[in-house]
């Protein structure tokens, strides 16, 4: 593993994102869509009705952000470069596929997690400042905040591997993005069911899911590196 080559890919990707208006817009607006519904439901509650929230975990609903935002970016990362003709020159350099895949994943991971934490912070600040008294204390619970902080990078990582895996195997950016959104639905469904208390959140569940995601992320890197077939990507062998 060569850090300089990985850093080169990360820097190039991040520079590309920053100068691509549609990517910046997607990274800014998509996460905010996810806080509109919880904020409306929180602000519409009176302090007497705050009990309604005692069985909900509104904060965990925001875990959909690290599930969805990175997968959209990651799904573009390989097939997009392939369509623009910029992949071949990179593959002619001494970079190993593990390095290229890791560089691309990190380039998506860093801004996605930053955006997810930022939106989470905005949500917490809005609830603390503007929700009725009593409501904020029922929503902002220590364990939920901790779960959000820990699971945001884990879910983002998993979504990234899903997105890149799809991106290495399809020939069209739109197909990659549609499949990636579909692939992230189980994660979103799981976080939603937990936030609605359909699946009861517990420490054991959190640890089990954490371990699964850690292993999934580790295997994801290996699996995606294996799927990254230079010959197929260059010669379009189907």
């Amino acid at each position: 593993m060569n850090r300089r080559r990985i850093r080169a890919i990360v820097r190039k990707e991040v520079r590309g994102y920053r100068r691509n208006g549609s990517i910046v817009a997607a990274m800014v607006f998509v996460p905010f869509i996810f806080i509109i519904q919880p904020l409306i439901s929180v602000f519409s509650l009176s302090s007497k009705a705050a009990m309604q929230l005692s069985h909900h975990h509104e904060l965990l609903y925001l875990l959909a952000i690290p599930a969805l935002v990175p997968v959209l970016l990651a799904s573009y990362s390989v097939v997009g470069e392939r369509q623009e003709g910029t992949l071949e020159p990179v593959l002619t350099t001494p970079i190993r596929r593990e390095e290229l895949v890791l560089g691309k994943a990190l380039a998506v991971f860093l801004p996605s997690v930053a955006v997810a934490y930022f939106v989470f912070g905005v949500f917490l600040a809005a609830v603390a400042l503007f929700a009725h008294s009593g409501v904020s204390s029922d929503i902002i619970r220590g364990p939920d905040v901790l779960v959000q902080v820990i699971f945001t990078p884990l879910i983002a990582g998993w979504s990234i591997w899903l997105g890149i895996a799809i991106s290495t195997r399809v020939n069209d950016v739109r197909v990659a993005q549609q499949l990636s959104v579909l692939a992230s639905l189980p994660t979103i469904a799981l976080t939603t069911l937990i936030s609605l208390n359909v699946i009861h959140p517990s420490a054991q569940l959190a640890i089990a899911l954490g371990v699964v995601l850690l292993i999934g992320n580790r295997l994801g890197w290996r699996l995606v590196s294996t799927l990254f077939d230079r010959e197929r990507l260059i010669a379009s062998v189907k």
């Binding site: 060569n2 300089r4 080559r5 850093r7 080169a8 890919i9 820097r11 190039k12 520079r15 590309g16 100068r19 691509n20 623009e84 003709g85 910029t86 992949l87 071949e88 020159p89 990179v90 593959l91 002619t92 350099t93 001494p94 970079i95 190993r96 230079r230 010959e231 260059i234 010669a235 062998v237």
Partner: protein, 317 residues
């Protein structure tokens, strides 16, 4: 690295198939260090696939090869790619990044020492220092091609593969790229140039190979001409000769003749140095007014078309 070779590039029965489709097969040749080698062929002949195979992007299905002295194998992929650079047909630049940022990324991928100085040197080599901070998306096609060439020069490659470097360029831009390639060739870089622009190959290459899935021929352009076309002199006189057979027949070095228009004759010769003075003397003796006696010239294009036509006819048969 499991072995070394004195040739910059060598292939021994190299081939690549995609399922039932043959991209190229049975390639056998060697290229010396410092040579500018032209790889010609029609569209679909397998030129780009050959470059990608040497560049370790595609694995061969038969034969063996060495690149920069290193045996071509998946294990040697990284080491081979360190020693070479490939300029693909499309420049493949990051359009939102500046010229310098594009080069900076590749300098890091090649781990070049002192990248800033190397980038400046590469930009100077392609006369693009003034445009270093321009986004690549704003550059003309010719300038993008020059950036791609600068990118290929960053790592001081032992072997430089140029895949159709002037495709789609206007004559002025093509000439600039030609001058750059000629300069590189003079500086001792081994260049593997694929093209179907024959005047480009003739002007720039020490040797050429003509590929149409299989290797049709290989050699210096003048050797190929001699190999394929009989030597001939074109004779033009002010008026048609009354008895051309009497003039050309039996002259030393002359093998035959045929009319080539009014007062013009194509005379096949074994040796122009012997035949030309004899023909001149015979024409003067016959009282002919001689306008010109010139050696017939066959371009590389004639060689190429002859070989490709032969190959098509053989395929039909």
């Amino acid at each position: 690295m499991s072995g070394t070779s004195r040739a910059a590039l060598s292939a021994d029965g190299l081939g690549k198939r995609f399922g039932d489709r043959i991209a190229f097969e049975n390639l056998t040749f060697e290229i010396a260090y410092g040579e500018v080698f032209g790889f010609l062929g029609p569209n679909g002949a397998g030129k780009t696939t050959t470059v990608r195979t040497f560049g370790t992007l595609i694995a061969p299905t038969s034969g063996s090869a060495t690149v920069a002295g290193i045996p071509l194998s998946p294990e040697n992929g990284v080491e081979i790619r360190r020693q070479i650079a490939i300029m693909p047909e499309t420049p493949g630049l990051y359009s939102r990044l500046s010229v310098a940022e594009n080069l900076e990324c590749f300098a890091d991928l090649y781990e070049v020492p002192d990248p800033t100085a190397r980038i400046e040197r590469a930009l100077r080599a392609v006369n693009l220092t003034e445009r270093a901070n321009d986004p690549c998306g704003t550059l003309s096609k010719g300038l993008r091609q020059r950036v791609a060439l600068a990118r290929a020069l960053l790592s001081d490659p032992q072997v430089l593969f140029l895949d159709e470097p002037t495709a789609g360029l206007d004559p002025a831009a093509s000439r600039e790229v030609h001058e750059l390639i000629a300069t590189l060739g003079q500086s001792g870089v081994t260049i593997f140039l694929t093209t179907h622009r024959l005047e480009e190959a003739e002007r720039l290459c020490d040797r050429v190979a003509i590929l149409n899935t299989t290797l049709q021929t290989i050699g210096r352009p003048e050797e190929l001409r001699d190999r394929l076309f009989a030597k001939a002199l074109t004779v033009k006189t002010a008026a048609a000769l009354p008895d051309p057979d009497g003039v050309f027949g039996g002259l030393p070095g002359v093998e035959g003749w045929r009319p080539d228009g009014d007062g013009a004759y194509q005379v096949s010769v074994a040796d122009t140095g012997v035949a030309a003075p004899a023909i001149t003397r015979a024409l003067v003796a016959a009282g002919a007014d001689v306008l010109t006696i010139a050696e017939s010239y066959h371009s590389l294009e004639d060689v190429y078309l002859e070989l490709i036509d032969e190959d098509r006819e053989a395929a039909r048969a």
